[in-house]
Symmetry: C2
Subunit: 198 residues, 2 copies
DNA sequence: GTCTATAACCTGATAGAC
DNA sequence: GTCTATCAGGTTATAGAC
């Protein structure tokens, strides 16, 4: 039952965010009523934290694994990561907006979630591995955050603006997917352009 | 008085978004009480639309003017636009998050606002001007949305993640500004890389 | 125009019966 | 465990006095 609730809550929270989601709405989706919800997760806050942890865990690890395959050429590694994110976001188009919204509503939340999920070591390994490659001159030496600004910015932008763009230019779902397939290659080549030594 | 209200409401709305802003909070900031607010703008919705229009008008036009200066080299044009946005966002760090959040909460809102503000012609001119340059072979021929995905993605990403990054890596305001000054050049060079013919 | 008072509603949360 | 009933608090919006 707890899992049924988390699964339903996940959908609603991702769609509307914490603030605009009410307990009664989740209860309706699950098929029970408000007090029953409060039995399983005492407060809305506790419930959201459970859902948020669930989501973060499904996003973070796969990416950092790919970052560390140093035997592969850069373009290959970038392509895998970009592929993974594009698939994830195509299946969950509102996930990028959700993450940004909650990151801004409560910046501590992500930090606490990351700490409690033991993914911090995986992240550190990936960071130092990349930094080494830069020091060795195999990659251009840039601040690591720039890599993330560039890659994530390009990755999430189409999804952050999806609804508005589709309405403004009467773009169909098929058109969107066609563009995304091309866009994927642009992201890879731009990230490589940022990291490759001339 | 209406202006005083819009000015105050603008601050609060940009900071917290539509959903998490209450009329009483705005009233407190202005220095009057709730019912007085409802006298000037009958509903919260009407008031928000006024504020939103005010914001859009202050963002859009300057950019498209710069896009059309075809006598200038590409890098010069891009640099001006990027400069303008970085200044705007540095002074209003939560503006990018605000725009994305409201764009997703109510996708029709932006469309209606744009229509009512008569900026649609300016946008169309800029678009066709760019498209011509692409057809003439002076710029690489890519879907126009890709230019926006790339430029805006890179422009807003540092600000969307500012609070979280500063807390996660205990980054000071000075450090942030230092990185932004360097990042600006990266954005320009990446956008040029996207548009320049080989 | 600006106030006080109040209506009507929705929220999260709890107590207690079954 | 899941329900009904209820509480306390906050929200937008309005009516009516000054």
């Amino acid at each position: 039952m707890e899992n049924r609730i988390i699964k339903a809550a996940r959908e609603v929270f991702i769609d509307k965010g914490y603030a605009e989601t009410s307990m009664s709405e989740i209860a309706t989706v699950v098929g029970i009523n408000r007090p029953a919800l409060h039995y399983y997760f005492r407060t809305k806050d506790k419930m959201f934290q459970a859902v948020f942890g669930d989501i973060v865990q499904s996003i973070v690890p796969a990416v950092f694994d790919n970052l560390m395959h140093r035997e592969l050429p850069l373009s290959e590694r970038v392509e895998r990561i970009v592929d993974a994110y594009i698939s994830l976001f195509t299946e969950n188009p509102r996930l990028p907006m959700f993450m940004m919204r909650e990151l801004n509503r409560d910046p501590e939340l992500l930090i606490n979630t990351i700490r409690s999920l033991n993914v911090i070591d995986t992240m550190k390994e990936a960071f130092t591995s990349l930094q080494e490659e830069m020091n060795e001159g195999k990659l251009k030496n840039i601040p690591l955050q720039f890599l993330f600004y560039n890659m994530y910015g390009m990755l999430i932008m189409p999804f952050l603006t999806k609804d508005a763009v589709q309405k403004l230019f009467t773009q169909s779902e098929e058109e969107f997917l066609t563009y995304i397939a091309i866009w994927k290659n642009v992201v890879v080549s731009q990230v490589c352009n940022l990291l490759e030594v001339q």
